[in-house]
Subunit: 183 residues, 2 copies
DNA sequence: TACATTTGTTACCGATCGGTCACATTGATG
DNA sequence: CATCAATGTGACCGATCGGTAACAAATGTA
């Protein structure tokens, strides 16, 4: 694994565990079994490294739509239910929530270059979910998509603020109830 | 206004605007029209100051329940609707979201003393809302309360990640739909 | 007026931050 | 073997971080 890959994947982990502002470039380079100089030769600044980690997180999150289509081809209704289950699984497996949303909160008020990417990513996820709701025949697809988005986003932040025993445990039930009421 | 009050209110604003880790004690004391020495005489550390600002934020958030009871005494159903409207108003007026939840995200992984208070505050809000849903005669009050909590938490974080034009604009509609389906 | 408490001022501390320098070392390719 | 690009090393930079010491000024109160 080349140093560049090690740096960005290590940085992703550390940002997730300690926060972007909670970890320094020295510690990142150290944990990536390399040094600060090599880090700065690949990424001109810490901000660039942050953007790269978020870009990868966004890409990985985008894979869910391909997986859903592959699992239930041409069956948007089943894909919508699978979306809920898949997101509920992620909630348990990734207690740190959404890296993009967390970054938006952590980097507020400094015009960080990541903000544009975060906004674009969130808008894309929103649109994709709305398209899926529409294809699934929901009465008000955009309202249902936004409802599900709010539930997901709320579950991710609630897990960080209240722990696994918090209200995020009702995420899947709340989603299914919302989907049912919009059928 | 005594220096202590100025410090804590100024710190609240600055933490909200730039993030807890994004502002230093020097800048806080400066903006509060005092100095660092006075700040440290009232608060032994920055962490203590952070805890105090969050304690006040939690107190202020607790006032909503008294307001709701005062506005619609003995009418929990009306209080529930008013809760939605009041929270929707806050969404527009406070684009920085929930200080407590933001702090939980920003201070992750360092065992910060604020974490306990955050968890307690969130659990209390959740329980109060559940009690209101129960009094309003909802079929599954805890599930409805958690649904509304997820919607609110999601709307607050979405506003920071996607802006006012994001899916937080559907918060009130989503809440009313949820309440109706649990009637 | 005399006293005690609270503030303000200034300089300072060690640590860490993001970022850069010159130079040594490695590794692959011709 | 020679070359050249990529990596490693360690010292270093100015700035800022949270936090403190010593002393002066203000404030209220008896």
């Amino acid at each position: 694994m080349p140093p560049r890959e090690r740096i960005v994947s290590t940085a992703s982990e550390l940002f997730r565990e300690r926060g972007i502002r909670g970890i320094g470039v020295d510690a990142i380079a150290d944990a990536a079994l390399t040094n600060k100089m090599t880090l700065y030769r690949h990424f001109g600044s810490k901000d660039e490294l942050v953007c790269e980690t978020l870009r990868r997180a966004s890409e990985k999150a985008g894979a869910i739509w391909r997986d859903l289509e592959a699992a239930y081809p041409g069956n948007p209704r089943a894909q919508l239910d699978a979306w809920v289950e898949l997101r509920a699984q992620c909630l348990n497996g990734e207690p740190a929530g959404c890296d993009l949303a967390n970054a938006a909160i952590e980097l507020k008020g400094e015009g960080h270059p990541a903000h544009e990417m975060i906004e674009r990513h969130k808008a894309e996820q929103r649109d994709r979910l709305a398209a899926l709701c529409s294809a699934a025949g929901a009465r008000e697809p955009r309202l249902l998509a936004d409802t599900l988005t709010l539930l997901l986003e709320g579950a991710r932040v609630s897990r960080q603020a209240m722990g696994a025993a918090g209200c995020c445990g009702h995420f899947a039930k709340a989603c299914h109830a919302a989907i049912a009421s919009f059928a």
